[in-house]
């Protein structure tokens, strides 16, 4: 079984982002970048499945500028076998990403495609479901547990009301929740080895996909600031304020 894992390079989750002065977006120059956190869970799960002897090859793919390669190298360092980098600049909307992934799926013919449930930059939460639609494959979104069966997966999904379990036939798309597993760190020897693993490059145009945005981003602004609050000295003062000043209890 072959697993394709899609990873995205995003501003590190610990960075407090800043909006550009011209309101055209957020500042990304000289800002720490990392793999989108739930994409790390997607790689980890693929590696665990391979270690359990249920998968034979893991291919990591990313879409973005030259630096996005780092994200693939990191995936290679924790256990992916080879990488694909699709070169593209600017905003690539989830619809275009899923069209690129579809073209790659048709070439690579994986049995499973894993990715994070949501990217923490645009917070869209769309790509996996869109890819599933374009391929007419089953989709198991927000996965927090995956059991690999003979020709299917049993997936536990994190939904608003609690947990839901579904069975999807292979081939399938799985989008991973942060609770799926604990991603491992890459060891130094493995980071070195990853540099020698094959990494193919191509462009969206090579795959015949139009990546022109369909949605116009008119402006990006800072959200309204909360006015500074106060520190209270003790619990009695807190309850008094809540009762008589804020009038919420």
């Amino acid at each position: 079984m072959k697993i394709l894992v899609a990873v995205k390079r995003v501003i590190d989750y610990n960075v407090q982002i800043r909006v550009k002065e011209d309101n055209s977006g957020v500042v990304t120059d000289n800002v720490k970048m990392s793999t989108n956190p739930p994409d790390d869970n997607a790689i980890e799960e693929a590696v665990k499945i391979k270690e359990a002897g249920k998968a034979t090859e893991i291919v990591a793919i990313t879409i973005g500028d030259d630096k996005a390669q780092e994200t693939v190298r990191k995936a290679l360092a924790v256990g992916a076998d080879r990488g694909i980098h699709i070169k593209a600049d600017g905003i690539i909307e989830p619809l275009a990403v899923s069209k690129i992934l579809k073209a790659v799926v048709e070439k690579e013919k994986p049995d499973l495609v894993f990715m994070g449930k949501q990217a923490i930059d645009d917070d869209c939460n769309q790509t996996g479901q869109m890819l599933a639609a374009l391929l007419n494959w089953p989709q198991a979104t927000f996965a927090s547990k995956i059991d690999v069966k003979d020709k299917s997966l049993e997936v536990t999904r994190e939904v608003d009301e609690g947990l839901e379990t579904i069975e999807v036939n292979i081939p399938a798309i799985v989008t991973c929740d942060l609770r799926l597993n604990e991603p491992r760190y890459a060891s130094l020897p493995n980071i070195m080895k990853a540099k020698k693993k094959p990494l193919d490059q191509m462009s969206a145009t090579d795959l015949g996909v139009d990546t022109k945005p369909r949605i116009e981003q008119i402006k990006v602004e800072e959200p309204p600031k909360r006015k500074a609050g106060i520190k209270v000295a003790n619990v009695a003062e807190l309850v008094n304020k809540l009762k008589n000043e804020a009038k919420v209890i």
Partner: protein, 317 residues
Amino acid sequence: MAVLLIAEHNNKELKPFTLNVINAATQIDQDTHVLLIGHNADIVAKSISEVSGVKKVIHVDSPIYENYVAENYVPVILKNAENYSHIVSAANTFGKNLMPRVAANLDTSQVSDIIKVLSADTFLRPIYAGNAFATVKINDSKKCVTIRPTSFDPAPSTGGSAEIVKGEPCEEYSLTKFIKKEEIKSDRPELGTARIVISGGRGLQSGENFKLITAVADKLNAAIGASRAAVDAGYITNDHQVGQTGKVVVPDLYIAVGISGAIQHLAGMKESKVIVAINKDGEAPIFSVADYGLEADLFEALPQFLEELNKLNTIQK
């Protein structure tokens, strides 16, 4: 053209957030139609038809829609999509799972999680966990949009008298099977709609210690929330998680206890009307969004808090 809204329900009742989404939909276009896909859900169809602002209910009934499976819902939505300019649903796990599969089939780019309708094609949405707001305009002729329910008031559940028409079911998608749903039942107000939420974080140190939170929640008739750290540590189940990847809440009062205030947690609660933070670390980022901060050991502060509440003659419910 009109708006087609996909209802979330359990065949017995409409999920309350659908009312908030109906309100948002009517801000896009007064002609809002609701598509109800389910089984033996006549009572839900009737209740939707009475919601203020709904002009028409399309009810599609089949045993294959007993449980919600996106792969089964989508063909029905596509079949009904033709006469609509917008297809909308809630930006919760129901709509997030469903809408992109609709949008990709229609070859249209989706706008997720809008918090404001600026015009029929222009919307405000949070990005980067709510640390920036983007104004976006959809140029596709068919617009797929998910709506953050807590950013809109619910539409009144009475006052409407929409016609209910029957729609045709589609063929079953055989590659995905629903197995089970483990819903956590509670007598408490629902986290997403509660007037007061009290949340615990890693500072609680154990699941057992959440009883301190529970005691206060009982007194205030509050819902119980948690940070991702507390959920990951196994103190409490995932349905309590507030944050970027959990639930977004906007109660009148949010009490964060033993929560440091990671960016991803703030994304889920910083729009609350009044925020209280109780934390022994005076430098914790949670204090930067708190209206009232109490720097204290929660194991002393929570019992005192309950005691002070008990002294009050009246507590708003």
